[in-house]
Amino acid sequence: MPLLQVENIHTYYGNIHALKGLSLHIEQGEIVTLIGGNGAGKTTTLRTISGLLKPREGSITYDGKDLLKYPAHEVVYKGISMVPEGRGIFARLTVTENLEMGSYSRNDKNEIQRNMDRAFTLFPRLKERRTQLAGTLSGGEQQMVAMGRALMASPRVLLLDEPSMGLAPVLVELIFDTIQQINKEGVTILLVEQNALMALSIANRGYVLQTGEIVLTDKAEKLKNDPTVQKAYLGIE
């Protein structure tokens, strides 16, 4: 049984039908990527899973439980953490305070300390800058803060929304290496990306999303070699 099962969800923004019966599943320990163009519904999918948007139809099952009956602020308590699009760091709080906010859903002091140490081990740069206001950091460092903050909640599933957005290639490499490392530590990952090539090269499986529907799904390797995917998302003619 998959860890996270999304079944036939329909999400709307007012009258705009953003997700039209989307289904996907993620197994424990996998890296699954969701690729697609602008406006395909990638971010909407993540926001629906994390409870910020409620679908009108469909079901989301997590670890055998119906996830839709929990309000957004309780989803994180179940073990699903999100790194939001555009990073969403708290600009006027320090790096440490941002990380501490990440552990808002945790009570165990030792656990919080362990997570803090883990964040600083994953991102040594953050340790150097921990007293700095997060808003004054570079884009790459802000992405590190956002990821470190999400990990502070000891998640089983990490939802990443375009972690490579606006970053220099060398930083993209670093972020993707770190995603793999986080995954090796046992965290299941759902990765939304426009940078399809990078995403498919670290993922186990992938879904191709187009105007609110899954149009293709396969092993990441196979998607990478699929002619339509190559043409549409990888820039290969």
Binding site: P71, I89, F90, A91, Y104, R129, Q132, T136
Partner: protein, 583 residues
């Protein structure tokens, strides 16, 4: 590009200075300030204001000249200053001439004969040459100032500021000193005149300030260095000493200063309470509330209705019992406001809360509810609290004994009857609430508020219950303001819906902005600057909002983070990007 001719630039500056002078004349500032002396028999505040424009024009013109000519050239600088001073005065002279030809009062009420008399030294148009000469001299004085070395400029500037400060507050100092008995009275009368400083007083403050300023610029660094070298134990005891001195002053102040100053401090404290409340909703949680006075009104009316012996008093319970009830009722209103506006953000929230504040005020003052709240007549006969006993939670009948004195006989006699006693109540409440606000800020709840302020969605995704957290911000903010209202009602002894103006809410927002958003010491500094100073300067109160507006604009340009900003805002606005920490 060819640089502008310095004479042309000086002329322009002079005309700007003159325009300001005319403006100050026509709004009546020069004339009204003329009733106050800076130094008796030498210069009045009105003259001073006018001179300041000419001196300022000379100063600015000289600065520009140095800039245009790439350096200080005394002859040109002084010429520019004189020219600017001349044109500055010339515009005023033109105003006087125009006034002698036509009656300007039809449009400008303040263009009165008294103003002309003042500007022409009582000589009619024959006084105008004298005015121009004074303008030129002022311009030269301003220009000379720029030529002086920094070491001379600073003490002079300090002395000038001290002089203005002392002159403005001379009335208060005088009264306070005269209250202290004979010796002080003689001293007060020799330094302060009825309307300003005496000549002796003026010299004392000018020379004294210069002496201190010179000493400090020569020895200040050494003093600071020796303080820094002090062992930590010494620093601690120094801090305790300073704290003790402040505490002693605070405790003894109302006895020394008399009721007026005590009342001003009470009002400052009430604004501090409201400021701390709004600091939670706006400063911490980022929820703009333009109707904050509503909670103040709820607190005031609750205590009023529960303790009043007037026609609308529901109960005659003890103040000490009424206060917690008032705070609870305010909290309920906080939730009542919070619930419908939970989903409203930003500008819309400001408008919604603005409406709420007005609704409360209009309801309280309406004829419809006049049977409960007294309508425009308000609730009167609110009993002053007694300190001695916590009276029982029952209807107390008159005559009532309070601290051993029968109320209604010598009502002003018992301790908490006047501003001098309420002072302690207000100060202690403000300190207590400041402490609570500080602890809240460092708490889990405080962090959640700040996360909401920064990004609601992310905060929610991290596990912050938005509904609960936002409601708590409204409720706690309301509680603080309600406590302020409760104290206000016993300070004044009566409450009227007309005291709950929108302006109060605006003042609270402004004091947060001036003090520094989200900063607790900032609230205190902001309340003193925006509420305390205008209260003390009642004589110039006609121009209160002119000065107020100018100060706000200047603040936003020069010091947008506020007078005492929180660490975060300070760093944000000064783009501190250097890496630090790593200890």
């Amino acid at each position: 590009m060819k640089k502008e001719n310095f004479l042309l630039s000086a002329t322009k500056t002079g005309l700007v200075g003159g325009a300001i002078a005319i403006f100050l004349c026509l709004i009546g500032m020069v004339e009204i300030f003329n009733k106050r002396d800076v130094i008796q028999g030498i210069v009045t505040l009105g003259q001073f204001v006018w001179l300041a424009t000419a001196v300022g024009a000379g100063y600015t013109a000289s600065q520009q000249t140095s800039h245009l000519l790439n350096g200080k050239k005394p002859a040109q600088n002084l010429t520019a200053g004189a020219l600017a001073g001349f044109f500055s005065a010339a515009l005023t002279a033109f105003l006087v001439w125009l006034g002698s030809q036509t009656d300007l009062r039809a449009i400008f009420i303040n263009a009165s004969p008294a103003l002309y008399e003042l500007l022409t030294f009582g000589k009619g148009l024959a006084g105008l040459p004298q005015l121009l000469i004074i303008g030129i001299i002022s311009g030269i004085v301003g220009a000379t100032f720029t030529l002086l070395p920094k070491a001379v400029q600073r003490p002079l500037l300090h002395a000038l500021m001290m002089l203005i400060f002392m002159a403005l507050f001379s009335g208060i100092f005088r009264v306070v000193m005269i209250n202290q008995g004979n010796k002080w009275e003689t001293l007060a009368k020799s330094i302060f005149s009825q309307t300003g400083l005496t000549q002796l007083g003026g010299w004392i403050f000018i020379l004294g300030t210069i002496a201190i300023s010179v000493f400090w610029s020569n020895r200040g660094e050494a003093v600071k260095a020796s303080m820094a070298r002090m062992p930590s134990k010494g620093k601690l005891s120094l801090r305790i000493l300073v704290f003790l001195i402040i505490a002693v002053i605070a405790l003894g102040l109302p006895q020394v200063s008399g009721p007026f100053i005590a009342q001003v401090i009470v009002i400052i404290s009430l604004y501090i309470l409201m400021g701390l409340g709004l600091n939670i909703t706006l400063g911490f949680a980022g929820l703009l509330d333009l109707g904050f006075v509503a909670f103040f009104a709820v607190g005031a009316y609750t205590v009023g209705l529960l303790t009043s012996y007037g026609p609308f008093g529901l109960q005659h319970i003890s103040f000490w019992v009424a206060v917690p009830i008032a705070v609870l009722v305010s909290m309920a209103f906080g939730a009542f406001l919070g619930l419908p506006v939970l989903g409203v953000r930003g500008d819309y929230l400001a408008i919604a809360t603005l409406g709420f504040g007005e609704i409360i005020r209009l309801l309280a003052g309406s004829d419809f509810l006049a049977g409960y709240f007294g309508g425009p007549q308000g609730v009167i006969g609110i009993q002053k609290p007694c300190l001695g006993v916590l009276e029982p939670f029952i209807k107390l009948d008159t005559p009532r004994i309070c601290d051993g004195i029968e109320i209604g006989q010598g009502a002003a006699d018992h301790f908490l009857a006047g501003p001098g006693g309420i002072y302690y109540l207000a100060i202690i409440s403000a300190l207590l609430i400041a402490f609570v606000a500080w602890r809240l800020r460092e708490s889990r709840l405080g962090r959640a508020w700040m996360a909401i302020r920064e990004d609601e969605d992310v905060a929610e995704a991290l596990g912050v219950n938005l509904i609960q957290t936002k409601l708590l911000a409204y409720i706690l903010g309301a509680a603080f303001a309600g406590l302020g209202g409760a104290i206000f009602s016993v300070l004044i002894g009566s409450i009227f819906a007309s005291s709950m103006q929108l302006l109060v809410s605006i003042n609270v927002v402004a004091l947060l902005v001036v003090g520094g958003m989200g900063s607790i010491p900032g609230v205190i500094v902001g309340a003193i600057a925006l509420i305390g100073l205008p209260e003390l300067l009642r004589e110039v109160s006609e121009f209160r909002y002119l000065i107020y507006g100018t100060v706000l604009i200047v603040m936003m340009l020069a010091k947008p983070e506020g007078l005492w900003p929180s660490q975060a805002t300070k760093r944000e606005l000064h783009h501190e990007t250097s890496a630090q920490g790593g200890d």
